[in-house]
């Protein structure tokens, strides 16, 4: 019986880092899911905004730098850290525009095991009725 003295305290000290680590992973992943939802909204509304902001001339889709900047501005309005990767319009149909964006999610607890951040990507395609 004497040997069991302080057993729970030792067990707690040994398990505490594991418990905190599991808790931290859950919080960090939860935060990443939230960031993905936020990026998804940002990309969606950037794509909707951008879909009415490109020109078709001589049967060719023209996307200027100004229009690319506009996509970035729309993204930043909804997610400050979001970066536009591509803004493309289907060359054949000319009414399908796709915006792809990326963002970096910083971790708080996973930095303990040297995972500082994770890059998330989202894309959204809008089909416009040209008639």
């Amino acid at each position: 019986m004497y040997k069991k003295k302080g057993y729970a305290a030792i067990l707690l000290v040994l398990l505490l880092p594991i418990i905190i680590m599991i808790m931290g992973i859950c919080i960090d992943i939860g935060n990443m899911v939230y960031c993905e939802a936020k990026l998804m909204s940002a990309v969606k509304f950037a794509a909707i905004s951008a879909s009415s902001n490109y020109t078709v001339s001589n049967n060719q889709v023209i996307i200027t730098d100004e229009q690319q900047d506009f996509v970035q501005t729309c993204l930043t309005k909804n997610y400050e850290g979001a970066m536009s990767k591509t803004f493309t319009v289907d060359a054949v149909k000319k009414n399908q525009c796709t915006v792809e964006a990326t963002a970096e999610v910083k971790f708080y607890f996973l930095t303990i095991i040297k995972i500082n951040s994770e890059t998330i990507d989202q894309s959204y395609t809008v089909t416009r009725n040209l008639d």
Partner: protein, 142 residues
Amino acid sequence: MKINSKKSKGQSVVELVITLPILMLILCLTVSTSLFIYDKTVLQFAANQGLDKAIGLYSGTNFTSDEIQEITNYINNEYSIAFATKPDIEVVPTYDSAAKETTITVKITSNFNCGLPYLGKLFDTTDNENLKAENSYVIKDN
């Protein structure tokens, strides 16, 4: 043996008294932080759907009070299970004459009842009592 058993019982109680508050604290922190992230995500989706509705109703001028009420009711009905209390919903169209663009913004603010001081700092939310979600849609003038 009787004395040993009593001593052992006493030891267990002391160990429980020391470890239980620590475990409870960890549990409360985890639950509180998880609820905070969950609420933020729900508000984000609500703002997303609210703006969808607002874009559908937008006719190029300011929203009428009936339209704003329709958007508010839509968000409240869609997320009635997820919202503990009814959130404040704002639908704001703004026109920037310099950039020649109209921005429709849906802002949702809700109280967070399990707030802990560290949460605001951790997730860059200045107002710890309130959770906010905001989505904007930009329309360029042709």
